[in-house]
């Protein structure tokens, strides 16, 4: 006789372990990551490696202090993913300590303090990005023109080491440039309509050869990664569609009313962090609601906050703030919008009982 213990039903089987999920997400991020590194050259690669390494080391030390087995928790790849996501949102030529400080904030303060993987209230990468943006506004808003690897303008490895690890980056003359978000914001403020703004080219934005954060420039490659995750069922469509749909709706509505003051939907969808956030960050299973309706609400809230912050706030990009705000709402959403329990109706009354009370009436 088989002596394995009896386990009561229902037996739910999930094909994805945490490690597999993280692996698929990393794979889906790979095209945008490689493209970003190609686009911004050696400094981007150095910053990427430093940030990811710092995240893994911070995770290891936190686990040591907490007395958890570091090997098992490191193997799930969640720290690696956090490091990658954070690196993708940094300006590609930022100095190394920006990546290290960000990784420590993400892993120690935003994740391990709350109890580690699965326990964090806020998305670690976004919490770190907001902390960095507030603390180091200069370093976090210095964007360079793309200088692809192997092109004439690209810095050599030696120059790149000076850019990433040097003090101040005076070793090379970099062509810094405002991102399209920054530029458009200024121009729209002066009443110049979007189509007349020099440098606005939807195709370039979609393809990604524009100044921006390390892995956020190419909307198409991020969309491709997102579709891979959808196909593998690592994520569901509710949050991305609600997020992108809300931005499209709001942007189109206001653009139709006053085109000279409000940018159109393609501009909002293709620029900045929107694609990365929609598919890779808002869909974080830990910090988003459980139920389908909750996820739709969560995605719509993220989209609305992104549009509102971009349009009316003091910062040109509001995606990270939007995610943190909606993360804070997640417990509330989960409290009010609960998934129907199997065998019970929405109010939690057993189904046969609710039939019985109906019959009594």
């Amino acid at each position: 006789m088989n002596s394995s213990p009896l386990i009561a039903s229902p037996h739910a089987h999930d094909a994805n372990t945490v490690a597999e999920t993280m692996g698929w997400v990393l794979l889906a991020l790979a095209p945008a990551t490689l493209f970003g590194i190609y686009l911004f050259g050696w400094p981007a690669l150095l910053l990427f490696l430093v940030t990811v390494a710092a995240a893994v080391v911070a995770e290891y030390l936190s686990l040591k202090i907490a007395g958890k087995p570091p090997g098992r928790f490191l193997a799930d790849g969640s720290a690696l993913l956090t490091g990658v996501l954070l690196a993708l949102t940094l300006p590609p030529w930022a100095p190394w300590w920006v990546g290290v400080v960000g990784a420590v904030i993400a892993i120690v303060i935003a994740k391990q303090v709350f109890g580690g993987v699965g326990q964090n209230l806020f998305n670690p990468a976004m919490a770190a990005r907001v902390a960095l943006l507030i603390s180091f506004p200069l370093e976090m808003t210095t964007f360079v023109e793309p200088q692809p690897l192997f092109s004439a303008a690209a810095p050599t490895l030696q120059q790149s080491l000076a850019i990433t690890f040097g003090s101040g980056g005076a070793a090379i003359d970099a062509v810094t440039s405002a991102t399209i978000l920054d530029h458009t914001r200024t121009e729209l403020g002066q009443g110049v309509a979007l189509d007349e703004i020099a440098g606005y080219d939807p195709l370039a934005l979609a393809w990604g050869g524009v100044p921006g954060s390390l892995g956020e420039t190419s909307a198409l490659l991020l969309l491709l990664g997102g579709l891979l995750l959808l196909w593998r069922r690592v994520i569901t469509w509710y949050i991305p569609v609600a997020l992108l749909g809300t931005i499209t709706l709001l942007a189109t509505l206001f653009h139709l009313i006053a085109p000279e003051s409000y940018a159109s939907a393609p501009y909002h969808l293709l620029s900045g962090a929107v694609m990365l956030v929609a598919f890779f960050i808002a869909t974080d299973p830990v910090t988003s609601p459980l139920s389908v309706r909750g996820q739709l609400l969560f995605g719509a809230g993220c989209g609305a906050f992104i549009w509102i912050l971009r349009t009316w706030s003091g910062y040109p990009e509001g995606a990270a703030f939007a995610i943190l705000l909606m993360n804070a709402f997640t417990p509330l959403i989960d409290h009010y919008i609960r998934p129907r329990i199997y065998g019970r109706d929405r109010r939690g009354v057993p189904l046969n009982e609710s039939v019985a009370t109906r019959e009594e009436r």
């Binding site: 400080v101 507030i134 603390s135």
Partner: protein
């Protein structure tokens, strides 16, 4: 009730610390501890109010009826705070400009009203004075430690502008610990206060646990049982 001054001191400074254990007075704590000097300033002002109100309330405790005790306590505390506020405005003007808003707010510092209610109004003058002093010192300790942590991380200095508070002879306190530091603005802003306080509270818990396990300070008297 036998009064143990040792117990009162221990309660005020550590076991029943205003912030560490009672979690009171967090609003002024988080608001002013951007630098160690500001923390010290508010701490000294709070001690002055705490001790003076301990004296007055414990002396008057026989004639204050329970029905009106809260308004009377507030009245006494508010009077003392106004005195401190005017004093600082007159003699420590530069510091008053920095702490300005938070000195009047000592009136609503729940720690002082809390001690008035739970200790000063039920104990004789001397124990009350001792309790006020120790609770105030405990609060000062947290203010200075939190201020120092935030100041070092946030701007790389320690006790900057101490001369404004304590006079020119204390200028040696002003230190720049990390030269050419770029500043870490988050730690100066309120979220930094929460983050630093969280880590300090965690450290306090660790120390308490180590004491209970007897791994540090094993020779100190620990016979009073777990609180």
């Amino acid at each position: 009730m036998a009064t143990s001054y040792r117990r009162i001191a221990r309660d005020g400074l550590w076991d029943n610390n205003v912030v560490f254990a009672q979690m009171l007075a967090l609003c002024p704590l988080l608001a002013v501890t951007g630098t160690a000097t500001n923390g010290l300033g508010l701490g000294l002002a709070s001690i002055a109010v705490m001790v003076a109100s301990a004296l007055m309330i414990s002396m008057l405790r026989g004639i204050i009826t329970p029905q009106v005790r809260i308004p009377v306590f507030i009245l006494i505390i508010a009077t003392l705070v106004t005195l401190v506020d005017l004093f600082m405005n007159a003699w420590l003007y530069d510091l008053h400009k920095v702490l300005g808003l938070f000195i009047p707010l000592i009136v609503t510092n729940c720690a002082i009203l809390g001690r008035a209610e739970s200790f000063f109004s039920r104990n004789p003058v001397l124990p009350s004075l001792m309790d006020g002093l120790m609770m105030g010192l405990g609060f000062l300790l947290v203010l200075v430690v939190l201020g120092a942590v935030r100041e070092i991380l946030g701007s790389g200095t320690l006790f900057s502008d101490a001369a404004l508070l304590l006079g020119e002879s204390f200028r040696f306190l002003e230190m720049t610990l990390i030269p050419e530091y770029r500043g870490f603005l988050l730690m100066i802003l309120p979220p930094g206060g929460f983050i630093a306080l969280g880590f300090i509270l965690a450290a306090k818990r660790v120390i308490d646990r180590r004491i209970a396990e007897g791994t540090i300070w094993a020779d100190s008297p620990q016979k009073e049982g777990a609180r």
